[in-house]
């Protein structure tokens, strides 16, 4: 089955970012596919690469990034939610004259149309917040 996953809550503030990741791994493990991952509202913080954790830990953001990269998942960060929360892709960072992007390159910035496209074209849309 084709799934799309929407995350609307920030990592650590709630369990949702961790739940969504475990769910995503489980569904790929069963041979289902992810049509799209959509980071929405505070969920965009999951794509922030400017995070640090204790040496022996892996941040949730890093875990999401490796998961997305490893499985080449279509991952979209909502533009309206992201920019006002300081999650900037390379293009926006450059435009605002920041030296580097704060967003992982494994996701792409796009609008709500991509969320609607996911809702329309997936067999199941599952929201975590």
């Amino acid at each position: 089955m084709k799934f799309s996953i929407v995350l609307t809550a920030a990592p650590y503030s709630s369990e949702a970012a961790a739940t969504a990741l475990k769910f995503a791994k489980a569904l790929l493990g069963q041979g289902h596919t992810i049509y799209r991952l959509f980071f929405f509202n505070d969920g965009v913080h999951a794509a922030n690469r400017f995070t640090t954790v204790a040496e022996n830990e892996i941040s949730l953001q890093q875990q999401w990034d490796s998961f997305i990269a490893q499985h080449k998942i279509d991952s979209v960060v909502c533009v309206t939610s992201a920019f006002k929360r300081g999650v900037l892709d390379e293009q926006e960072a450059k435009r605002q004259q920041f030296e580097v992007a704060s967003m992982y390159g494994s996701s792409e910035i796009a609008g709500l149309g991509q969320l609607i496209d996911a809702a329309v074209n997936s067999d199941r849309l599952v929201n975590f917040g």
Partner: protein, 96 residues
Amino acid sequence: MTSLHTISKAPSSRLFECCLPALKHGDGVLFIEDGVYYCLTDAGLAVSNPDLEVFSLQEDLDARGLMNRKIDQADVIDYNGFVELCCRYDKVISWF
């Protein structure tokens, strides 16, 4: 068509009570995250329709020390079960 409703906040949120009127014959409810604490309260579950299937996520029960508690009303499932439920029901409605 049937829906799986996920509830992810503690009973004080009254999310299950909010979701309850919107449930239809054949729907399922899955408690995840802090929602698993609903398994401690008979109140919410007892008023539910007997046709309703109720599930609770094992990992979240384990984490909270609830595995040995009485949770008769809910079937305990793991993440693989979560995915299977999403397929079994026609859509997923998240209450958070």
